[in-house]
């Protein structure tokens, strides 16, 4: 476990350094979205590799998951994984000064862990406390760290040095990674595996639709990722002054 943590921190440190190095050339306004991709050819190759991993390993596994686990069970797994992420979301809410959202995260954790039977059910959403996402990549953005060049990471997909560093820090913040127990490696692997199944299961049709209607799937994904991240960083607050003129 110690070795795993060290590896994660090393990768995170490298990614953070790359992110900071990329600060000087990392515009993020909509008008500049088409640039800042100096590793495009490598990224395109990695996207192809990820496509093959998806085709030969992930999609068949997701298909088996859909056959074996009914919709209610899959929703329970989704809720449970979401509940496990709440402490990390809470810490990032606080680091961004979003006290009201942090309060909601704590309420969700308390209600869903108890009334929601360990997080398999989501009573918090039913009483008007819907979930929201937050991660250390977004926290860095709020603190003024620029995204750096666009990257496609093996197994993970679209990213940038700031978000890659955020992933490593989130893994460090996660309380379940701080609890020492004998079978921790299996717990971590199982959690990542089900997170992958859940994510792919939820996004499969959308991704298929994008691939089908894209002129250039790579640049479509790049644009979608950047716009989505910018929206998440702003917590959905509109920034209409950045919109291009037609």
């Amino acid at each position: 476990m110690g070795r795993f943590k060290a590896l994660v921190l090393a990768v995170g440190g490298l990614a953070l350094c790359a992110g900071l190095a990329g600060c000087a050339t990392a515009p993020s306004s909509p008008g500049a979205l088409t640039i800042n991709d100096p590793y495009e050819q490598t990224n395109r190759d990695t996207l192809k590799l990820n496509g093959k991993i998806d085709k030969y390993f992930v999609v068949p596994t997701v298909a088996v998951y859909f056959v074996l686990v009914p919709e209610g069970g899959r929703r329970g797994v989704h809720n449970f994984l979401g509940n496990l992420s709440l402490p990390t979301i809470f810490v990032n809410d606080m680091l961004q000064g979003e006290v009201s959202r942090a309060g909601k995260s704590i309420w969700r954790l308390a209600l869903n862990s108890t009334l929601g039977l360990g997080g398999f059910f989501d009573p918090a959403s039913k009483i008007g406390i819907p979930g929201h996402g937050e991660d250390f990549g977004q926290t860095l953005a709020v603190w003024g760290v620029k995204e750096g060049p666009y990257l496609v990471l093996p197994f993970i997909g679209p990213s940038n040095p700031r978000d890659a560093a955020g992933l490593a820090v989130d893994a460090f913040i996660d309380p379940t990674n701080q609890i020492a127990f004998k079978q921790h490696i299996w717990w971590s692997a199982g959690r990542e595996y089900f997170t992958l199944l859940d994510l792919k299961g939820q996004t499969y049709q959308t991704i298929q639709g994008i691939q089908r209607s894209s002129v250039d799937y790579y640049s479509s994904l790049r644009s979608l990722y950047r716009q989505l991240r910018n929206d998440q960083i702003r917590n959905g607050r509109k920034q209409n002054e950045d919109l291009p003129d037609f």
Binding site: L33, T34, V215, S223, Q232, N240, L243, P244
Partner: protein, 214 residues
């Protein structure tokens, strides 16, 4: 100190003008904003009604949706925008041919996007003025059978041509025209800026999008 009658009358008149002036200037903007909201509310519901009408055949549904869509959307303006920097260097006849190819592609692509949301309800929640003839109409798309919060869908409406026209749509903060421009500019960059190659590719995509998906 007492003011003389003419002076008092003049002071009252100035005060009245000052009080009424914001109303006089705000009224046209507010009216245009309401026009943009009604435009989105009525027409998006009409579009969703067409897509959910089970009495229509596939061809009828496609034709009716396309007619409605092309009447609402300023296809030319969007098409030219999505060419990015290449609109300045492309021959005018290629740009015209591209507008035609984009029209067919947009009709097929938008139908496939909207078809996913036929079981959901759309509610206009407000609007924002970007410029006096440029509005963002905010809506919420919700699934009555889901506990998930509604999705935010924004429509960009321009009124500078005399009637409202749709120029862009954003789902959860992702603007479609930006995504299309990024794709097309990247494609053109890989093909020496040849707009005709893009036209051929778009035409092929429009045909494939019209076919049922696997």
């Amino acid at each position: 100190m007492r003011l003389s009658m003419p002076l008092m009358r003049r002071a009252l008149l100035v005060l009245a003008i000052l009080a009424v002036a914001p109303l006089l200037t705000a009224k046209p903007a507010a009216a245009a904003q309401n026009v943009a909201e009604s435009f989105v509310d009525e027409n998006i519901h009409r579009g969703l009604d067409i897509l959910r009408d089970k009495k229509l055949s596939t061809v009828q549904r496609r034709d009716q949706f396309e007619t409605l869509l092309l009447g609402l959307v300023d296809v030319r303006r969007i098409a030219v925008f999505t060419l990015g920097q290449y609109r300045r260097t492309a021959p005018p006849e290629d740009v015209e041919a591209f507008v035609g190819a984009f029209r067919n592609y947009a009709a097929a692509a938008y139908q496939s996007y909207f078809a996913k949301y036929t079981n959901q309800t759309l509610k206009v929640t407000g609007s924002t003025e970007v410029k006096p003839t440029d509005f963002i109409v905010q809506t919420q798309l919700s699934d009555p059978n889901s506990s998930q919060p509604p999705a935010e869908v924004d429509f960009r409406v321009r009124t500078d041509t005399g009637k409202p026209v749709l120029v862009d749509v954003a789902y959860q903060g992702i603007w479609l025209s930006l995504e299309e421009r990024d794709q097309f500019v990247s494609f053109l960059g890989q093909n020496n800026g040849n707009v005709r190659t893009l036209i051929a590719h778009l035409s092929e995509l429009a045909v494939n999008l019209g076919k049922p998906s696997n």
